[in-house]
Symmetry: C2
Subunit: 198 residues, 2 copies
DNA sequence: ACCTGAACACCGTTCAAGT
DNA sequence: ACCTGAACACCGTTCAAGT
């Protein structure tokens, strides 16, 4: 019944394989940043100095290449959440993490879309990372709700709506202005518990 | 120096041309709604019962087809703004319009992206409509600021960040939940003037 | 195990021929 | 004026042959 496990790329042990794997990843990151998530795979292979078949051998789908290219960044983001969770001010921790997350998740055009889909689709290479990110965010949110700093009725999914909306805005903003900072700030203010509420 | 004027599709006068034009638009709307803004043009032509060359004759670019397919909806949205501008409660008017706008701008996957780019790029078929939409929103915003219901420091561009972020979330939400309602509501609350501020 | 690149498939776009 | 569909171009993907 369940779909096949998604393919997760692994760095080969053999010297030439490892070298090519690294070169492809590096070229992919550069290409994604300049052309977006739908950058030409042929170009990426060319920039990496390998034949197109080699790219496909290491990364059989575009999703697996994106996953590998963003793996480190997402892992970093999750470990940041753990550190912030041990912090005094729960709302400050949540705000700071949201800011970091928005930036990571919008490093190139098309990333938020891929990650958002991955969050709710298990058959996807980035699903595991997205799930972990969801837990991290949910944890920080709950903490800020427990201290009464954030409304109790906000769900984690809604928090991620705010995150992905802000990231999309940042992705698509004209280069000269980054609307996401203000955006997240205001979104969070909309979500804070009001002293005058009730 | 300036780019050529963007091509704006016009309904032909000759009977067969008009018939095909309508059939293509109707097929395009259906295709965009089910497959998104990057639906196959060949499929659309096929569904409309015309050859691919006929589609290109009426709509030389994908952007021109999208513009024609969304023209009515955007015009409706702008006239709605005019009606709401004559309303008593300026904040209620702004909220209601935002809700309508989010829905219109996310009728199919990929639309927000196209319209957001159009807003800041004059060489684009939808630029005129987006500009008008910008004015409508800015007008309603200013009214709600004049009554002191919304923070004075919010810019129209930031309002449209909120609008497009919410629309993107709605576009990409799993079919079973529409996060945008809550999203806009909270975004607006984050933007409302606080009784306890200062 | 890994690499290469020709071959195939698909789709967007153009244009010569037709009514 | 408008329509048709073959032709071309481009790019993603596969796979037989090679080291």
């Amino acid at each position: 019944m369940s779909d096949a496990q998604p393919y997760i790329a692994r760095r080969p042990k053999r010297a030439d394989g490892a070298r090519n794997y690294d070169a492809i990843l590096s070229a992919a990151r550069k290409a994604f940043e300049t052309q977006g998530a739908d950058a030409s795979l042929e170009d990426i292979a060319g920039q990496a100095g390998v034949a197109i078949g080699t790219l496909y051998r290491h990364f059989p789908t575009r999703a697996s290449l994106v996953e590998a290219a963003t793996r480190e960044g997402l892992a970093e983001l999750i470990s940041r959440a753990e550190v912030l969770a041990g912090t005094e001010d729960a709302l400050a921790a949540l705000s700071e993490w949201m800011r970091l997350a928005v930036r990571h998740v919008s490093t190139f055009r098309g990333l938020v879309g891929i990650l958002t889909r991955s969050m709710y689709d298990e058959g996807t290479p980035s699903h595991a990372a997205c799930s972990a990110m969801h837990s991290s965010g949910a944890h920080l949110l709950r903490a800020a709700q427990d201290t009464g700093q954030v409304r109790g009725d906000l769900t984690a999914d809604e928090l991620f709506d705010l995150l992905s909306g802000a990231a999309w805005v940042r992705e698509n903003a004209p280069a000269d202005r980054d609307g996401s900072t203000r955006f997240v700030q205001m979104g969070l203010e909309g979500v804070m518990a009001r002293p005058d509420a009730g």
